[in-house]
Symmetry: C2
Subunit: 378 residues, 2 copies
């Protein structure tokens, strides 16, 4: 972890349940560390710190632009082991430093003395309040990191997946003027697939600009930007000719009938993003979309994400794993599932300039999972 | 393990891939044991031995009777760790000592040097030949036991479940004459729920006989024995009045339309048993049954069973975990999932007189998971 340790302690990461500050609030680079003598009980100790991610580029999608993303960095400590988690909270999703602070402060994790009772602990966390999905995910991720460190295995191994099966990740190109798009695509040369944000009336310009620079596979994320299904279908046919391999959230997330028509007629797979949040949504989307984009911050974390993956597979649906702008903490957690997905959009940490962690990396466009226990970050 | 060690070795448990006999083919009561010096490679070493389970009572269901069940006891060894598995092969399911020997002999598990690549290994095993589900399950169970021993945790913990959430198990009462049924029900006094086999024309006699002895909750397993849906519905209404809580496989497993009608009208949950085998079946059964009975020997083992559990839950279906007549090996493996089911029918090891293992036990009718790594057997 690259954050200054004293700064983190000094910021007074709040502790739920009235417990005292941890005496050694240190890195996520090891399993057990420090002595146990300083812990007065064997309950889980939660602490957290607000942090602002600095974006390398102004980020524009169909509905807004921004230059920072607020996150919450979370740690859970138990018997000398430390697990790290993160809540990434793009403003349009309704969570913030304030809501996450309120939610995390209300948790009484010290009532749990066995982190392996993950089902019970996360059911409790989920039941404390509605919403707060990113804050819930931060606890889920930290617990997974903690458990992985205790058994000294990365989660991709605990789940039985093969490190070599990781996909390439897309790199996201936001909506911008042609000269800026050209510049960004040139910077993205190391990547083997681009995710192009469209849906604000400049779709053809975006694609044509990119195709002047590169012929690698593209996918597009419309962010509900298209309004007419026939026009949408025409665009998809054109996009297929341009080497686009799938279309994310083409239309209104609430209009499943229109989406079912479009999916039935579309020559490219359609993927739900805004249209899917949690496990309960997945069976309802069968037929309306070809697949789903799973994001830890939407679905409350790895445990539910893994179930969504398995349920989508059982329903013969495609699976994509995505992220928000996040540190390497959130992205490395999501990447543990990536050996089992069709496509990955795990560039969230690559879009920021102040990542406090190291974790998953991208080599020749491919997601490379570190050989470290837990979620694999230091 | 209570089997005589020399007998096991002497029987010449076959080894796949032409490897030599293991020098110390010993118990499942520990993780790492013996030295590593005797292993020439780091590939997985598979060995197996045919065994016949002796049933305490002649077992009669709607279609046949028997007094023994052939099983295959399996071990997988890797870097000094030993995992145990089992294939239980009731004759009506088509597997036998011969088919399992052929299947297991054909596996080249020594090509795999990392047991944590469970997904890849089990995909290979599943792809070697069609069918052979119990033989496949024996490999799956042994690998889970092996992995659990390596990380030194039981699987219920690795999956994040709570040991205290285990259900009561049903105890099975086969179809028999009233005096024998009365005798068996009296013997079953320690159990808190009985599973009554019916469907051979003596349904009312069976239930009435049992109700003269006990008023504990019952479930019934019709084993496809009912032929008319209206008659079936009448019986279910009557059974509900007799304190029956669910009905397993009331009618022909192939007639989903009839089952959908019956499930829609039934005042009790209907559970698929013969009608469900593997993960791929589960989404197709939504609407036709209220739930499914998962058995490791049908679905190729714990990995697929766990997915079936999660998919059934996502589809808002009930889940029951069952077993064949099995040793404590197969039953203890299945029991690892039992904290998450609605009902358990895990009496397979209680019905036999020559169980070579110790594992899960039943106390006051409730399944008690041992605090041992892997699948929890010695």
């Amino acid at each position: 972890m690259k954050l200054d340790r004293r700064k983190f302690i000094g910021s007074g990461g709040l502790l739920a349940g009235g417990a005292c500050l941890l005496p050694l609030f240190s890195a996520c680079n090891s399993g057990k560390e420090g002595g146990e003598s300083s812990y007065t009980g064997s309950g889980l100790k939660l602490s957290f710190e607000p942090f602002d991610l600095q974006l390398k580029h102004v980020f524009t999608i169909a509905s807004f632009s921004r230059t920072t993303t607020p996150v919450m960095l979370v740690k859970i400590e138990w018997e000398g082991f430390v697990g790290c988690g993160e809540a990434s909270m793009p403003p349009y999703l309704g969570e913030s430093h304030e809501t996450a602070t309120k939610f995390l402060s209300s948790l009484k994790l010290d009532q749990f003395t066995d982190p392996f009772r993950l089902n019970e602990i996360l059911a409790y966390v989920d039941g404390v309040a509605k919403g707060n999905c990113a804050a819930k995910a931060s606890v889920d991720i930290a617990l997974h990191d903690l458990i992985g460190k205790i058994v000294d295995k990365p989660w991709f191994q605990i789940w039985g997946y093969n490190q070599e099966d990781t996909p390439v990740t897309t790199f996201t190109i936001g909506i911008d003027k042609p000269e800026m798009v050209t510049e960004k695509v040139k910077e993205a040369a190391p990547y083997k697939m681009l995710k192009v944000k469209i849906g604000r009336g400049t779709d053809e310009e975006m694609i044509n600009t990119i195709r002047k620079v590169t012929d690698i596979p593209l996918c597009v994320d419309v962010n509900q930007g298209w309004k007419d299904k026939h026009e949408a279908l025409d665009k998809i046919h054109w996009l297929k000719e341009q080497g686009v391999v799938f279309v994310e959230q083409p239309m209104d997330k609430y209009d499943l009938d229109t989406m079912a028509w479009l999916t039935q007629h579309s020559p490219l797979p359609t993927i739900a993003d805004e249209g899917v949040q949690r496990l309960v949504d997945v069976p309802k989307l069968k037929g309306a979309y070809s697949g789903i984009n799973i994001k830890l911050m939407k679905c409350t974390g790895l445990r539910e994400a893994h179930k969504m993956l398995n349920v989508a597979r059982a329903l013969d649906m495609k699976v994509m794993i995505g992220c928000m702008t996040e540190t390497s903490c959130g992205v490395s957690a999501a990447a543990q599932l990536s050996p089992m997905v069709d496509w990955a959009d795990l560039d969230g940490n690559l879009l920021i300039s102040n990542d406090p962690y190291e974790g998953v990396i991208v080599q020749n466009g491919k997601v490379i999972l570190p050989n470290r226990s837990g979620i694999g970050i230091i």
